[in-house]
């Protein structure tokens, strides 16, 4: 029952921005705000689809100028070679400066120790924080989305980090209208998440619409894999099967690309981006649940890592 009159949507059809255009417009606004208000922004760029989309949006935001900040890759050393090749080519094409914070380097220097389970995702925090400090970066763009995870659902678009890179979920700034407050104390920095409001499906539909190039392993390809914890793991130097695990060749693709030792593939026939869009639209498992072993360890896994300064 309508208690009072409302304005109807009838005559408004002419000025109705579609979903993807609305999300794109919001993201470009955020990227421009950060560049206008901060001294030294940097973009975390892994070659993963979310960071690729953020970079694409940044390129659009400043056209015909170049993207006015460098990109930073926190390199676990457990890379898919195709992703590194893609990273370098993309950076070259856009004429950007690439900085690499190497987990391997920290292990070689004895500052970090390899974990018993071999995964290096949790080891990224220290190299990331030191790269931020050494680069004097005051704003760090990331491709995190709120639909990825319960802890991220409460993350702000501009999120304060103290000098230890910590996120304090109980003490977040209210975020009002489209007014972003990035003021901070020396030693603090801000994480900026322009695609906070995008879902996985939005990302794929946008990649399809904009014809954005991705590392090839996002599309279905034949690969030697073995099953572990209900996921398909690629056979590789850092992800060897145990003697009791059977290696077979299957048509698979990746939904996230990260540390090769803990990123799983899904069986898929999606050989084009539009196939992927259809697959994601009909998907029944969340992205992280399906393919990230480290997020399945506990319900609060992501929250713990975020508090420690993870992306």
């Amino acid at each position: 029952m309508s208690i009072s009159e409302i304005k109807t949507g009838q005559k408004l059809a002419e000025h109705r921005l579609g979903l993807l255009d609305t999300l794109e417009s919001e993201a470009i606004h955020i990227i421009r705000e950060v560049v206008a208000e901060f001294e030294r922004p940097v973009l975390l760029f892994s070659g993963g689809k979310d960071s690729v989309v953020v970079l694409h949006l940044a390129a659009k935001a400043f056209w015909p100028g170049k993207v006015p900040f460098p990109v930073l890759h926190v390199d676990t050393g457990h890379n898919f070679p195709e992703v590194i090749e893609f990273r370098d080519r993309t950076v070259e094409k856009l004429g950007l400066r690439l900085e690499v914070a190497s987990v391997q380097d920290y292990i070689d220097r004895g500052i970090l120790q390899e974990r018993p389970d071999g995964t290096r995702n949790p080891l990224q925090t220290l190299p990331l924080l030191e790269a931020i400090t050494n680069g004097k970066f005051d704003a760090v763009f990331g491709g995190a989305r709120r639909d990825e995870d319960k802890a991220r659902a409460k993350e702000r678009i501009l999120s304060m980090r103290d000098e230890f890179g910590q996120w304090d979920p109980r003490n977040q700034r209210p975020e009002l209208w489209n007014l972003y407050n990035g003021r901070h104390l020396p030693g603090q920095h801000v994480r900026a998440f322009p695609i906070s409001n995008w879902t996985e499906l939005d990302i794929w539909r946008y990649i399809e619409r904009e014809n954005i190039e991705l590392p090839p392993l996002y599309l279905a390809h034949e690969r030697e894999v073995y099953s572990r914890d209900g996921m398909w793991r690629a056979v590789g130097p850092v992800s060897m099967p145990n003697p009791d695990e059977v290696v077979e060749t299957r048509l698979v693709r990746y939904r996230t690309v990260g540390d090769m030792s803990c990123t799983g593939a899904v069986e898929s026939n999606a050989v084009s981006i539009s196939d992927v869009v259809l697959e994601v639209a009909g998907s029944t498992l969340t992205e992280r649940g399906a393919t990230r072993a480290d997020d399945r360890i506990s319900e609060a896994a992501m929250e713990d890592r975020k508090k420690e300064g993870y992306f």
Partner: protein, 451 residues
């Protein structure tokens, strides 16, 4: 009533789908988490692994409710501290879609710091869903929630009269609450209010139409959400063009690879997001500060020249004349830009534990401009039960009140009651950068009080 169908790939992929942002307000006791869980669950936004986790936890806790023993409220439990205490402590954002539309839901906790959370959730909301427990009717808290919604001018309000199953789906109870509600909305001069009898627990009239409320002929919650107009649709259609300049794009040396340096040597694009209204190439515009008039010679959307733009598009404008414009300038339809002012009479929502008193030095961020300011006087605190302003000289955390701010330099701030983005601002602590308050310029006359 139109039939609502849920995620099938074709619907999800429709090209003309739009976005609606809405917030939910109410306390745990009103069943807000259950309503949110029900929306997510019945719109098939919950994926198998999330559902399995909820089923596991429901079983561990011995939940015996409906929906196959699923405690749907668990879907919205975010942080570990919240799970341990069984409360929510911060606004959480959820995403789901129907065949018609995509939704961003700002889930605002009701108990702790409700003003802060309500303001955060409502500031960007196209619609707010306020919950009422059918057994209790309109409570003080309902009035407060509706007051915040009215002050922030949220254009659409859905009042979900929940737990209608616990009053035997009684039309009389519903009508009684509707009468109470009409009184409150009249007092608050609240527009665009819809009331719906629902049971979040049983799923009545949330997504699926209830068979037990045949006396109710209006839409379900989701049907309304699918059809309500978004703020940007209203403000791009009805309001004059307004465009705060974020930065100036002058590529010079740093041109995109492959572009011809000669062609873009003199390129100058004023980058920003259309805050309201629309603009076409060739339109005459006005620029403040300076009150210059000029013409739009081009609109660029990331390398693509377009003929027209409207809110909320992010574009770059090219102008016929070169001005020394900087971030903070505003471009608008001729004759519509507000005169820059050095004093703001504002309604503010104070969000910090440090109080606001006369003489407090702050920063004011309005649009793309940030200036120093002083709170010269605190007029009074709003009593959220009567909406009256009661005289005080101090605003404390979660207070809403009226203040006068003096600005170090003039700002072209608009009237919030005419356009939300033009009249909204932040009050920021100059040293540590905290957001102290949300402010709206009301141009109100405070002369009934001694200043």
């Amino acid at each position: 009533m139109p039939q609502t169908s849920f995620i099938d790939a074709a619907g999800t992929l429709a090209q003309n789908r739009t976005l609606l942002r809405f917030a939910t307000a109410g306390s745990v006791d009103d069943g807000k988490s259950t309503l949110v869980g029900r929306l997510l669950h019945d719109s098939k936004a919950v994926l198998v692994d999330q559902l399995e986790a909820v089923a596991r936890t429901s079983a561990e806790r011995g939940f015996g409710g409906a929906a196959g023993g699923l405690d749907l409220a668990l879907l919205t439990d975010g942080l570990r501290a919240e799970r341990e205490q069984g409360i929510t402590i911060d606004v959480a954002y959820r995403y789901f879609s129907t065949a018609e539309r995509s939704f961003i839901l700002a889930d605002c906790p009701g108990h702790v710091q409700y003003t802060r959370n309500m303001v955060t959730g409502s500031a960007t909301a196209d619609a707010v869903v306020v919950l009422i427990d059918a057994r209790k009717g309109v409570l003080e808290q309902t009035r407060r929630h509706l007051s915040v919604v009215a002050l922030l001018r949220v254009p659409n309000v859905i009042v979900a009269i929940n737990k209608i199953d616990l009053v035997d789906y009684s039309e009389t109870v519903y009508n009684d609450i509707l009468e109470q509600l009409k009184q409150v909305t009249a007092e608050l001069r609240l527009q665009g209010v819809h009331a719906i009898p629902v049971s979040a627990l049983e799923g009545d009239n949330v997504v699926e139409r209830s068979t037990k409320t045949d006396w109710y002929t209006g839409p379900t919650v989701i049907e309304l959400l699918e059809t309500l107009p978004a703020i940007d649709e209203i403000e791009s259609e009805n309001d004059p063009f307004r465009f705060p300049v974020q930065l100036i794009i002058r590529p010079q040396g740093g041109l995109v690879n492959g572009l011809d340096a000669d062609e873009y040597r003199d390129y100058r694009g004023y980058a920003g997001q259309v805050a309201s209204g629309s603009i076409k190439v060739g339109d005459e515009v006005e620029v403040t500060p300076g009150n210059f008039k000029t013409r739009v010679t081009g609109i660029d959307l990331a390398g693509r020249a377009i003929d027209s733009a409207f809110a909320p598009q992010s574009v770059s404008l090219r102008l016929a004349d070169e001005f020394d414009l900087a971030r903070g300038a505003v471009i608008g339809a001729v004759g519509t830009l507000p005169e820059p002012v050095k004093e703001i009479h504002a309604e503010i929502f104070w969000l910090d534990s440090r109080s606001a008193v006369p003489g407090t030095r702050v920063l004011v961020k309005a649009g793309t401009q940030t200036v120093q300011a002083i709170i010269t006087s605190v007029i009074g605190r709003r009593n959220l039960d009567t909406l009256a302003i009661e005289g005080t000289d101090e605003l404390k955390v979660n207070d809403i009140g009226n203040v006068v701010l003096r600005l170090a330099s003039p700002v072209p701030i608009g009237d919030y009651n005419q356009n939300r983005r033009a009249g909204a601002f932040l009050i920021i602590q100059p040293q540590d950068g905290s957001t102290l308050a949300a402010g709206i310029n009301t141009n109100a006359q405070f002369d009934e009080f001694d200043i």
